[in-house]
């Protein structure tokens, strides 16, 4: 029997839990040549800013063991071009669009969120908190709890759309990520997307310079998967009622299922699409097969199952079920 793959992310109902991760689907058209975007849970767009953005000089990408280090600098056409050109295409394909936004200040995020409010075809807004805070000398919002909270609160006030907050991990500690997650939920985030890429570096020993032109480079791919899983696990433990979209190096259906069992209601496929442009469809097929093999008829039943029977945490209280 085909398992029931439907997911409900704080009221956002999707036909299945496999989403693209922000920045890894092009406009949707590039990926659509290899994977049917209408059959994915949703297409999460590349992070959009208010105007066009040229991004970081090349070289922008370096290969690392089981990973990819990249510094693209949020190159993109800006929100208006997206609304005129890319969103109608996604809608015409029957894809559900989650629009990722990035800004240099809470006000800029709020303007973007407001512009998206009431746009036909927008399923939710995802707030990329790994964007540099221009008011704070380029520090990442995600590394600064109060800034991240300011951004999420501003977005929450500006839109009636469901708000996904995209967090990274290990900026200070896993405990810090849990506290950050709690803070952005308190500020109005409906769903947590985690994790974003992890800060990393490669040095070119010939030039004696960093291999990438941009200083702020993010590591993604299977290299960060265990970090991402632990983060999802810990955040789900602390906030079991908040839906999590798990991501970080998911390359197979088994990887996706690990995230679901750790507490993710849905998953994002990112770097895998660079290696295998058909990865999203393949991972969805593999995940379906794994549920069938195990006789698990509904994916929502197994979200967070890895926590069952877990040792009690301090205070003697188990995870609410």
């Amino acid at each position: 029997m085909t398992p029931d793959l439907r997911v409900d992310l704080a009221g956002v109902r999707l036909p299945n839990p496999v989403l693209t991760a922000a920045g890894c689907a092009g406009t949707g058209r590039e990926l659509a040549l290899f994977t049917d975007v209408s059959r994915l849970g949703a297409v999460v767009t590349k992070s959009l800013m208010s105007g066009p953005r040229a991004g970081t000089p090349v070289p922008r990408v370096a290969e690392t063991p089981s990973g990819v280090l990249s510094a693209i600098g949020l190159q993109g056409p800006g929100l208006e071009v997206f609304l005129d050109r890319d969103l109608p295409w996604l809608v015409s394909q029957g894809a559900r669009a989650v629009v990722s936004i990035a800004g240099g200040s809470p006000d800029e995020y709020a303007e973007l969120a407001q512009r998206l409010d009431g746009q036909a075809g927008v399923t939710a807004v995802e707030v990329n908190l790994a964007s540099a805070n221009q008011a704070d000398h380029g520090r990442y919002f995600v590394g600064d709890r109060s800034s991240a909270v300011d951004v999420v609160r501003a977005v929450r006030a500006a839109t009636g759309l469901p708000v996904f907050a995209k967090l990274s991990s290990a900026m200070d500690s896993v405990g810090g990520t849990v506290a950050l997650a709690e803070a952005v939920v308190e500020a109005g985030a409906d769903v947590l997307s985690m994790i974003n890429s992890v800060r990393g570096m490669v040095v070119d020993t010939t030039t004696a310079r960093p291999a990438l032109a941009g200083a702020a480079a993010g590591l993604s791919g299977p290299a960060i998967r265990p970090i991402a899983l632990a983060t999802v696990h810990d955040v789900h433990q602390a906030l079991p009622q908040v839906p999590v979209i798990g991501m970080g190096g998911i390359h197979s259906g088994d990887d996706a299922l690990q995230f679901v069992l750790a507490g993710a209601s849905a998953v994002g496929v990112g770097t895998a699409s660079l290696h295998d442009p058909g990865a999203c469809g393949r991972i969805l097929r593999e995940l379906t097969g794994l549920l069938e093999e195990r006789g698990w008829s509904r994916i929502s039943d197994v979200v967070g199952r890895a926590h069952d029977g877990a040792p009690l945490r301090t205070g003697g209280f188990g995870r609410p079920h």
Partner: protein
Amino acid sequence: MTDFRPVQMRVPVLAARPVDHYHALTVVAPGVAERFRAGQFVAVAVGDDRSGMMLRRPFSIYEVRPDHGGTVEFRFAVRGAGTAWLAERRAQDLVDVVGPLGRPYPLPRDPVNCVLAGEEHGGASLVPLARALRRRGCRVDFVLGASTAARILGGDSAQRLGESLTLTTEDGSLGERARVSDMVQRVVHEAPADVVYAAGPLPLLRAVTAMGTSHGIPVQVSVEQQMTCGTGICMSCVLPVTDADEITRMVRTCVDGPVFRGEQVRFDDVGTIPFDALGAPGWAVAARPQHDREPVDATPSLTGSDREVS
């Protein structure tokens, strides 16, 4: 209508052989072969199923043939762990290819004189271009060169396809002791060329473009930029290209190129974000059009509609 969309295929190796400094790998990939137009490339996954190498390697398609439903040959030099793995593939091994990718060389409508200039690996895309041009009745004159004789790619095919072939090496091991860019002007005058195509390192493309511009001859260049997916997703292969609307955009070599009109490419600014590029700090000037349009090819005498397969 022919379907030009790229395909992803897990395909068997038909033949693997060394050719001078390069490895030639032929795979049975009918879907890629039937869609191929000269100038396009394949992006190949390297390593086995659980490979730790996440990035695809792009290679110009050197030749397609109808045997076995359609074969695709590409040639590469070993430059790292990924190409070393690929060089160890043997007949019947499977490789994962995506292609054909990228914008092909536009072809002249009329049987005009064409000079094809390639340096190092750049010759790989010029050989199938020469075949397509010859089918249209064009005259083809080749200038191929490299640092040393073994690194010249496509010399034998160029000998057969070209009205003339000029070879250059920097060490003098074959042909003229010179760079390709030193010899192009003479060949262009002798042909005389109506169109010049160039493929190889940026200095060659810049020099040929400058020569063509000063003589009023259209130049098409195939750019080699680091690519990691080949499909337009990763945004790693951007370079500054100025459109007919005079706006410079950071465009992706893999989907907007690799072939560009030479004069559109801001060669001196490759590796930077020009201050006035769309979305760069100096961009925020009023009265600029809002839209980030797709690049257009405004060359009047060329068309990208060659649909035959060699």
